[in-house]
Structure formats: C-alpha cells, structure tokens
C-alpha cells in the first residue's frame, strides 16, 4: 500500500461531501417521485457503494425500514451480475422482498458508476411504488403470489438500452402504470445524478478510486460502533412482547447478547409465520433492529458497511420474523414497527437512560370505501402517544418508529366524503410515571354519502397496552368503536350502515419511573389542562 493516509481534515471533508452526494441523489428522487409518501415522508433510501459493493454512505432520509436493506441487497445484485460483466449504461432492478426491503411495493434500482471507463462504485436506491398489482397494500393475502408482480434481479437497462419487455410487463400489471413507470424512471435518473456528482467529486479532490477513502470510512465506523458497544456490560438481555396480530396475538421474543464489542440479537421463540401478509422478512427485521440499536447506542455513526459489522441479527427460519417463501409479506410494518420496543425492552435493565418506554407502535392507517352507489376509497393516518423518556414526558400523538406525518382534516374532507366530528387528545391515555407517556387521540368520523360503507384500520395495541419502564405504568389501550357500543375487529373489513359513525381511539404511551416521583406542579398542570382527569390524578399520583 503506497496510498498516503488521509489527514483528519481531508477525511472529514471527503466523508461529509460523499454523504452529500447521496443526499443529492435522494433529493433528486424525492422531487421526482409520484408517490406522496416518498416525497413527503422520505420513504426511500439512496446510497453509494464501492467497486466491491461495500456501502460507503447512505442519504439521510425518513424511514428506518430501509436501513441497511440496500446494503444487503447489493450482495445479491453482484452475485447475479458480477462486476466484470457490467458496462456503462447498465441498470439493475428487483423487488424481491427477501433480497431487499420486505414487500413487493419496494423497487430497488442499482446503477454501476464508471470513471474513465473503469467501474469505481455503485449507486442504489429503493423507493415505494404506489401500486404493484395483486391485492393492494393489505394483510389479506395468504401467499406472496397474491400480492402482486414479482421482479427477480435483472437488467432494467442494458448498456443504455431499456428493457422494453420488462417495462411493458410492469405496465400491464399495476393499477397506476403512469405513476409506477414514472417512479422507475425517477429512480434511474436519481442514480445517474449520483454517478455524475461522484465524478465531479472525484475531479474536485483528485481521486481515481474510492478504495483508500472507503477503507477509512468503514474501519472508523466499525471502530466507533465497537467502542460504543463495549461500554455496555456483557450479558444476555431478554424481552418478550405481544402485539394484537390480525386474529391471534403475535409473540416477539428478543434476546440481545453483548460480548465485548459485538452484539447478537436473536428472535428465537417468536411466533411462527402466519398465512396473513404480516410476515417480516429477515432484512426488514434487521432494519428495525438496527434502527433501535442505532438510536440507543450510536446515533452519530452514519450508515455504511462498517457500522453494523459488529451486529448479528438472527431469527428462526419459518418464524414471523424470518418467513419462508412464498409467505405473504405486504403489511410487514404492522409487526416490524414493534421490534424497537422489543430491543429497548431487552436493554431496559442495562441502559435505561438511553431509551424510550413503549409507545403506540405502528401508525394507524384507516381505509374507508363506499359500499353503495357512490364509489370512493380514502386512506388516512393517525398517531398515538410515544413512550415517556428518562427525563421527559412522552410526545403526544407522535408516530414512532415510523416518521410519517398525518393528513390535515381539511385536506381529507376536501378530497373525500368524510367529515371528521372531532379530533382531540385522549385524556388519561398517557401512562402514569415520573415522566408521563404521550397521549393518544380520539377521532370520530362520519361518511356523508348517506350509504353504507366499509372501513378497515391497520391498528394495534387494542389488546396489549404500551408498557412503562423503570416503574412507569402502562398507557391506555386503543379501541375501535361504532357508536353507541359496537366494537368489531377493525383489522378486518367492517361494514357500517348508512349514517353511523366510527371512532378511532388511539393508544397512549407508557410512563417512565414511578408516578409518585412526578413533580406535583406537572400533575397540577396536566389536571388544569385536562390532560388527566382529577380521578385519574388521584388514582395514579395520589393528588
């Protein structure tokens, strides 16, 4: 090796600028995507890889679901299309849930980057497509075959020549072909932006390849991650949590084993895979597990090939966290969003000061569809409360772990026959504690068609409340109500008579530390504001 070592200033600048290149790539995709959730919530990922497919930098975007799943997918791309076989203009694609991010709606697109005709790296991105055919984005399939078009790893462009057969096939299989093909073009263009910027970047800094820089980035990240892990006492830390499931509860058993400077997270004992589309492929299990570890242990370490080397994540084959093909997987987030709670629960006894208590889990997604003459379908999101923190109350009506924003009521009412009758904080829903859990909310909805309709809500925490940490108490469970008193299972399709309303009661987060330690003034303020009732204050805080 005659490469001169990089001085710290140059390395800092090169590294920051390389992340900036991927941010440009992601921005190009976000601006041009037709899918609202991609543009507004950053449901995408974008990354740069070295010539061997090691991920060097990932754009800072909005969802944990893609962490490292692109990095893992690169091995599969290169296995199928070895580096030596690739030429300028080639673009690769797949939506294989097991090789990428766990559902057919996510297309991953990879473009080799050339400099002076030599392959110097890759740009990849994953982006949520608005439709992929099949049953649409629901948990109702029994096999992945029903969930839409499956595209194995193949070339989307071959030396700049588009794979017209594939484009036509996709076009014929999806409900919104203009948008889906538009997004694919956006993905291709975004990678090209990345590749062009990489060339400018290498010009600016006089680089011929990314080898020396890549090695520095990967080794330093791995080292920082190992140092952070080594600070946590060795041991096996375990936690079992339950989620409502569709009909039957789902069990998640999580064991975090810390040995020196490495971590193994194992999910042995978790529920077996189910014949509903809520199975979580191992890549997605790993994404949310890594997300939790990153929040708790090393928020400042950027994502790259080195950052997760010290972490191994396993789940038994055939379990709900590592299902076997052709298990259905489309609504994997209903279960996947609980994994951070399982990991935090396991770590509660060792690093409680770096965690958040259990919260409402997955964001609620309500779909309302006309069942009379007037046809309409409307979807909206709502968030429950976050768990309390070691020194702060939990955030009310804030989604965690996903980062998605809700739809304004006025927008919802302007684009659908829905009328929202109230959207208010749910008093007493936040788990008591020295620090109180965040509050959920109550949303009452009427459908103004004067006809029957069907509603389904991808909800959770109706059976199992969010637990508090270190003596904090659980938050209130959620509920689904057809007033006055009917409480059907909202995850199934619920048929509602004309004129009747439905009510979503979103769960609250768990508290942190025992309630008796809560500052009296905080209790009084909560009572004054009506966030807790006087009875609940007396019961929980003796006030």
């Amino acid at each position: 090796m005659i490469e001169p070592a990089l001085d710290p200033v140059s390395l800092e600048i090169l590294w920051t600028r390389l992340i900036s290149v991927t941010n440009e790539q992601a921005a190009a995709l976000m601006r041009t995507s037709f899918t609202a959730i991609v543009r507004e919530s950053g449901d995408l990922s974008a990354a740069v890889f070295d010539e061997h497919g090691r991920m060097l930098a990932q754009a800072v975007t909005g969802t944990p679901g893609h962490i490292n799943s692109l990095a893992t997918s690169m091995e599969h791309f290169i296995a199928r299309h070895p580096v030596a076989s690739l030429s300028p203009g080639d673009v690769l694609i797949t939506n294989d849930p097991w090789k990428t991010s766990g559902q057919l709606n996510d297309f991953s697109v990879v473009t080799p980057a050339f400099r002076n005709d030599k392959l110097v790296g890759f740009f990849g991105n994953t982006c949520h497509a608005v439709d992929i055919g099949g049953r649409g984005l629901s948990a109702n399939a029994t096999e992945v075959y029903e969930e839409g078009l499956f595209v194995p790893i193949m070339k989307l462009y071959d030396g700049s020549r588009p794979n017209d057969d594939l484009f036509r096939l996709i076009e014929a299989n999806v409900r919104a072909p203009n948008e889906v093909l538009g997004d694919l073009h956006a993905q291709v263009a975004a990678n090209q932006v990345g590749a062009d910027r990489l060339n400018d970047y290498m010009d600016d800094f006089g680089l011929e390849d990314l080898r020396a820089l890549g090695t520095e980035i990967v080794t330093r990240s791995e080292g920082a991650m190992r140092e952070a892990i080594a600070e946590i006492p060795d041991g096996d830390y375990e936690k079992t949590i339950h989620t409502d499931g569709l009909e039957e509860p789902i069990k998640i058993c999580c064991k975090v084993s810390i040995r020196g400077d490495s971590i193994v997270v194992d999910y042995a004992g978790s529920s077996p895979q189910v014949a509903r589309g809520m199975n979580v492929v191992l890549n997605y299990t790993a994404a949310y597990t890594n997300y939790a570890l990153k929040c708790a242990i090393s928020p400042e370490v950027p994502h790259n090939d080195g950052s997760f080397r010290p972490v191994t994540i396993t789940a038994p084959e055939g379990s709900i966290l590592n299902p076997v093909f052709p298990a259905p997987v489309a609504a994997r987030h209903i279960v996947g969003h609980f994994l951070p709670h399982a990991v935090f629960g396991a770590l509660e006894e060792v690093i409680p000061d770096r965690l958040v208590a259990e919260g409402s889990g997955n964001i609620w997604l309500a779909t309302v569809r006309g069942a009379g003459e007037q046809r309409f379908v409307t979807v909206f999101f709502a968030a429950g409360g976050m768990g309390a923190r070691p020194t702060q109350d939990g955030l009310s009506t804030t989604s965690f772990p996903s980062g998605i924003a809700s739809t304004p009521i006025e927008v919802l009412e302007s684009t659908s026959p829905l009328v929202v009758r109230r959207k208010e904080l749910r008093p007493d829903s936040g788990g008591p504690g020295q620090y109180r859990g965040g509050l959920g909310q109550t949303i009452e909805v009427e459908v103004r068609t004067g006809e029957p309709y069907v509603v389904s809500v991808l909800s959770d925490r109706v059976r199992f409340a969010a637990e508090g940490y270190r003596g904090g108490e659980p938050g209130m469970t959620g509920g689904f109500l057809i007033p006055p008193d009917s409480r059907p299972n909202p995850k199934l399709f619920v048929h509602v008579e004309a004129g009747r309303r439905f009510v979503l009661e979103l769960p609250g987060g768990g508290g942190f530390s025992p309630p008796e330690r809560r500052d009296r003034r905080a209790v009084e303020r909560d009572v004054l504001e009506g966030l807790i009732s006087e009875e609940a204050a007396a019961r929980a805080y003796g006030a």
Binding site: P8, R31, E300, L395, I409, S414, E529
Partner: protein, 693 residues
C-alpha cells in the same frame, strides 16, 4: 404640517437587530448618512430614537419623505414567549389541533427531541358549535348567544388577544366575522385575529398556528408602533412609517398592525434585498445571498433580481435549531436557510476523531478565545485569526484587540487532539465550516432545482466576506461580490424595497371542475384589497403591478408547486394553468407523467408598487492611504504561508483592478480573496472577484 414640495427628498431606514440598530439616510437615491446604536431590548423604539438623532445630525428632519422600518420584535416575542395573553376560539371537536400538530418526528434517530408548546394552553382554547363543510356550505350556523357567553370567561381570564379559526373558513368566512364583530363590540380593548383574514389557506393546523401567532404578537406590536410614531414626532420627522415584511415588500404601519405575523423575518429579508440590489448593479441578477454572522449563516437564492419566496416560515425552534422543532407560520417570506455556522461556532473533536465545527457557538459572550473575555473553546474566528485573515489590531476597526496567544492556545489544544500542527488545525476549522455552509447551500439549491455554479455569491455579515472565498470555491461558484457598507446592509436593503403585499385564497378542487366565476371574484377581491392597501403607501392604481399564481399538483401528490400565471385568466383559464404547471414541473423535474389530472388548491395574488429610484452611489475612495501592510497568510488550499497585500477597503475606487491574493480591511469585516483571482472595483464600490481555474 403642510407639504413642502421639493424639500422631501430624503428617506430614512432603521433596522433593529438583536444587538445593534442600524440606520441609513438616503437623499436623491444616495447614502448621505449612516448610524449604528445599541438596540434597547425592552423598548426598541428607544434605540430608534437615539439612532435617528445620530443619523440626522446636520440634516433637516422635515426633509424625510418616508421612514422604512424592520424589526426583530415579532420573532423575539415568539421566541421568548413575551406576547399577549391569548385564547383560541375554534370549531367544536378541534381545540387540540394546535397541540396534535403534524404527528411526525423531524429527527428520526433522536429519541429526545422536543416539540414547541402551543402559544395558547389547552384551558384557553374554546370551542363553539358551528360547522362549515369542505365545499363551503354551512352545516351548523354559529350561535351568537354562545359567542356572547364567551365574554365573561375572557374577562375573568384577563384575555388580551383572541385568535378565531374555524374549519374551512378559507371557503366561508362569515362565522369568524360574526365572532370578531361580537367580541369587538363587547370588548373593544381586545385584539381579535381571524384566520380567514390572516391566512385564508387550506390546512387547519398551520392556519391555527399562524392566526394564533398573529393574535399573540398583535398587542405588543401595536403598542410598540405607537411609541415609535410618537418618537418620530418628537424628532420632528413628519413622514409616514412603512414596515418591512418577511417577503421583502413594504407595508403601511396600519397594515403591519393588522398582520404583524408577516414581519417574522423582517430583518433578514432586508439583508437579502441588499444583496439582490448590489448583484443587479454589477450585472448579476442571479445571486446567492450569503450572510455569516457570529452564530449562524443565512443563505437565499435571488433570481432575476428577486429573492425566491417560501410559503411557510418556521420560527422559535426549540431543539438545537432543528427544522421541524419550531412553530410553522403559513406566511410568505424570502426563502432563507439558516445554518448553525458563524464566527463564534466552536470546533471540537467529534466521532471518529474527526474535526467538527458548530452548531454550538460561543456567540458574543464569552465569544471566541481571541476576544479575551474568558472564552477557551476554539472558534472559527480564532482559526481565521491564526490563518492571518484577520488583523488583531483592526477588528471592528480596532475597537476590539484580538488576543493571538489565546487563539493559539485554544486551537492548539484541538490540534493536539487531532494530531495536527497548529496551522493545519486552524486551516481545518476554516475548511470544515466552509464545507458545512456549502453543503447546506447546495442542498437548498438542489431541492429547488437550481445549479449554484451559475450564480454569483454576494457576501455580507461580519464573517461572510472572510469565508466567501472558501464557500464559493467549495460550491464551484466563479464570481464573488463584496458590497460596500456591509455593516448597514439590512438597513440599506429596506430602502431598495418596493411596496408589496401577498394574498392567498384556497379553493381546492380538480382543475377540470374549477368554478372560474368564483375564482375570478376571489382574485378581483384580492386585487382590490391590494390596491386599497398600496394607496395607503401612496401608490396610485395605474402604477400597480399584479401577479397571479396558483398552487397546483398532480392528483395524488401531496406537495404543490406555485406556478406563475399571466394576468387575465378570463380566456381559456384551464389550459393556461396546465401549461404554466407543465413548464414549471418540467424545469424542476425533467418530465411529467402523462394522463394524471391536475388539482389547484390555492390562488395567489401579489400586488406591488414601483421600486424606488436608487443609485449605486459613487463609491468614492476616502483616501486613507492605500496599501496598509503586507502580511503572511495561510490559505488552506495552498498549504504554505504566502505574503499578501492588505488593503484599506476605503481606499480603493471604482475602476481599480487588482489580483488575488489580497485582503481588504474595513470596520465591520474583512474581505479575503485567494491567489489567482481577478479583482475589479466596480461602480458603487463593490469588489467584483472572478475565480479562475
């Protein structure tokens, strides 16, 4: 006082900043006097009083035709929570909208983020039984008796200001108007803001935060303006008071009292106008306005001489300056980004043992180590001093002697931790902070579909001219402009502003189903209101400029684009909107998906008056001697000490041609030009720097 024609040739501006109040007196379009006095935070009109006394020494106050004014009062009231005791009146079932917010986390990996407390606590948020539907029809009329029943409650709670925000009031405003009418009649002392007046735009959360913000600052602002007008009277300045809005437009004092929330970026927008003015004067109408002060840097893109505008401004951020942690205000304003990088930014060893700079700042107190006020952290200013960019005996014109030893001690410690020589560490701090600013500016431009490489950079602020060279180089920008009078740039910028006001009205729906009669009526109403307002600033109807716009999107997309429309929508309006959208969309994104229908959410009207006539000034040299000294300077790119000419900024004159490396010292700042660049002093006294390959 009777009008004395021919005598009123002067215009005064006053910019109240956090520390200083700057003033400029302009006669016949040229600066004749400037003043800088300390801001009086408890009653900022006091500082203006002092400043005008200074400014007008030797000038006749009766000469003033106009006083233009910008202030941080509104943003400070929001940041420090020093507004009025405010309540909110809203539709039954929706008082918590203000607290529920957007329901998302702005920082994904940080479990400890904070969200701002609503300006109005829950027990002061009242609900009335009324309901308007999305199409503007009344489902439940407002009950006047129920409104009256609020009066004793408001009295008992000593409420000073009321925000009224009902659902869909952008479509149907009468309910809010009824509440305002009743409350004003019963409680004349009350400030009442209604959302259909303040911001008739779709989106209940931001309409509520904006209306609440307006109500919250209104009493404070009105009292202040009254005091200010009184002060002007005492100084015999008998001229109308005009106020700078966040958009860079001017409004009358009466309009400002109605819409104080529109002033939230009053000061920074004036700085951008100044950059735009000098850019245009040098032949560059597309510039990146770059201002770097003690704690933060600000950047804004200017195109065709006009700053890009944003539809929303976030203020009073509560968590590490993070975007998303503040109060969103749905008001138009110049599209600024603020970066946690300034002269006081602290350098440290971060993760991976690599150097990081900011956003923590030593600010003014204790300030950089070299200020000698007890600061020991290494800052950007300390690094700049070690590199030779700053003159220890001529900082702020010599008012503050810089302690080189203290700077070397602070940066030396950092150097030790990084395993670098002192000078390498100083160069590293300088480069890293430049890179931070360049990255933020580049992303800002890219998100707006712009390529910065074709822009000129206009540098202002105390630290801006020191770092402009490095930032421009990192961005691939070839041309830098250093305008004169950097110390009073914002105050000067105000005098370049035109009277202007922006109106919005949401009428969401598919483009194909638009009711053009309603749109026409609404646009006409906005124009008429604009014409009325601008008459208050002395703009006759035939001098008005009206610009139309619409917020348009593809069906299914969440974000809209603002597209500019030609005046006269009466002929083929739908194809016109479609064509304008297509044009804008393709410019930004390359291409449009075929066959996806369009939706229009909001119509916009901007009514403006003529720009004031203004010369660049002569920029004459004040001949204090030309070459001050030569000193050794370390340019980070050069990796060696080189001898550089240090020039007196006041001694160069238009027509002078020089070559980099060179350093120009003036009282408020130091302009740094690297090796190989061409430097030309142009009309008005700006330094025009061209960077060659």
């Amino acid at each position: 006082m009777a009008e004395r024609p021919g005598r009123r040739r002067a215009r005064i501006s006053a910019d109240i900043g956090g520390t200083f109040t700057d003033l400029v007196l302009l006669r016949d379009g040229a600066i004749v006097s400037t003043a800088k006095v300390l801001t009086t935070p408890n009653d900022p009109s006091g500082g203006v009083y002092n400043g005008i006394q200074d400014l007008m020494r030797g000038h006749d106050p009766a000469e003033a035709a106009e006083v233009v004014h910008g202030t941080t009062l509104v943003s400070n009231a929001l940041i420090e929570r020093k507004g009025a005791r405010t309540c909110l009146v809203t539709t039954k079932g929706f008082r918590d909208v203000l607290a529920i917010g957007r329901e998302h986390r702005y920082e994904l990996y940080d479990l400890f983020i904070e969200l701002p407390e609503p300006l109005v606590p829950r027990q002061r948020r009242f609900e009335l039984t009324e309901r308007v539907l999305a199409d503007g029809t009344v489902e439940v009329p407002v009950d006047r008796d129920e409104v009256r029943s609020l009066v004793p409650v408001l009295r008992e709670q000593h409420i000073e200001a009321v925000a009224v925000c009902f659902l869909h009031s952008y479509r149907y405003s009468s309910h809010e108007e009824v509440v305002a009418e009743i409350l004003r009649a019963e409680m004349p002392e009350l400030s009442v803001s209604i959302s259909s007046h303040v911001v008739p735009e779709l989106g209940e959360y931001t309409r509520m935060t904006t209306t609440t913000g307006n109500a919250y600052v209104q009493p404070v602002f009105a009292a202040y303006l009254n005091r200010l007008e009184r002060s002007l009277g005492e100084l015999d300045v008998d001229a109308p008071l005009h106020v700078m809005l966040s958009t860079g437009g001017l409004a009358s004092a009466a309009v400002a009292m109605d819409y104080p929330v529109r002033l939230v970026e009053s000061g920074p927008s004036a700085g951008v106008l100044s950059a735009a003015f000098f850019g245009a004067g040098s032949g560059s109408s597309d510039v990146l306005a770059f201002d770097m002060g003690g704690t933060t840097a600000k950047a804004c893109l200017v195109e065709g001489g006009t700053p890009l505008q944003a539809r929303e401004i976030e203020t009073a951020r509560v968590y590490r300056f993070a975007k998303g942690s503040g109060i969103p205000l749905r008001v138009p304003g110049v599209d600024l980004i603020e970066i946690g990088a300034g002269g006081g930014s602290i350098a440290r060893v971060g993760p991976f043992k690599l150097p990081k700079v900011g956003p923590q700042s030593a600010a003014g107190d204790p300030g950089p180590a070299c200020y000698g006020r007890g600061g020991t952290d290494p800052t950007v200013t300390d690094a700049d001093l070690i590199l030779g960019f700053l003159n220890p005996t001529f900082f702020l014109g010599g008012k503050l002697e810089l302690d080189v030893d203290a700077a070397e001690r602070a940066v030396g410690e950092l150097a030790g931790d990084l395993g670098l020589a002192l000078i390498e560490a100083a160069a590293g701090v300088h480069r890293v902070v430049n890179e931070n600013m360049a990255n933020a500016a580049r992303m800002h431009a890219i998100e707006r579909g712009r390529d910065l490489r074709r822009y000129s950079l206009v540098a202002t602020g105390g630290a801006g001219p020191v770092h402009a060279w490095g930032v421009a180089t990192a961005l691939g920008i070839r041309r830098i402009l250093f305008p004169p009078n950097a110390g009073v740039a914002s105050a000067f910028g105000m005098l370049t502003a035109q009277p202007a006001f922006d109106f919005v009205r949401s009428l969401p729906g598919a483009l194909a189903d638009t009711d053009w009669d309603t749109v026409g009526t609404q646009i006409a109403a906005m124009r008429a209101e604009g014409a009325h307002q601008l008459r208050g600033l002395g703009v006759p109807n035939d001098m008005l400029e009206v610009r139309l716009g619409a917020d348009v999107r593809h069906r299914g997309q969440g974000e809209t684009l603002v597209v500019a429309l030609e005046e006269g929508l009466e002929k083929d309006p739908a194809p016109q909107v479609e064509a304008a959208f297509e044009d804008r969309y393709v410019t930004l994104y390359g291409r449009r998906p075929p066959g996806v229908p369009l939706e229009v959410l909001t119509w916009r009207v901007r009514v403006s008056g003529p720009r004031p006539e203004l010369g660049l000034g002569e920029g004459r040299a004040e001949t204090r001697g030309t070459l001050k000294v030569r000193r050794k300077v370390w340019f980070p790119d050069q990796n060696e000490w080189i001898e550089v000419d240090v020039l007196d900024r006041y001694a160069v004159a238009p027509g002078d041609v020089l070559r980099g490396p060179a350093i120009f010292e003036e009282v408020e700042s130091t302009a740094v030009v690297g090796p190989g660049a061409s430097i030309r002093v142009i009309d008005g006294g700006s330094l025009e720097v061209t960077i060659h390959d």
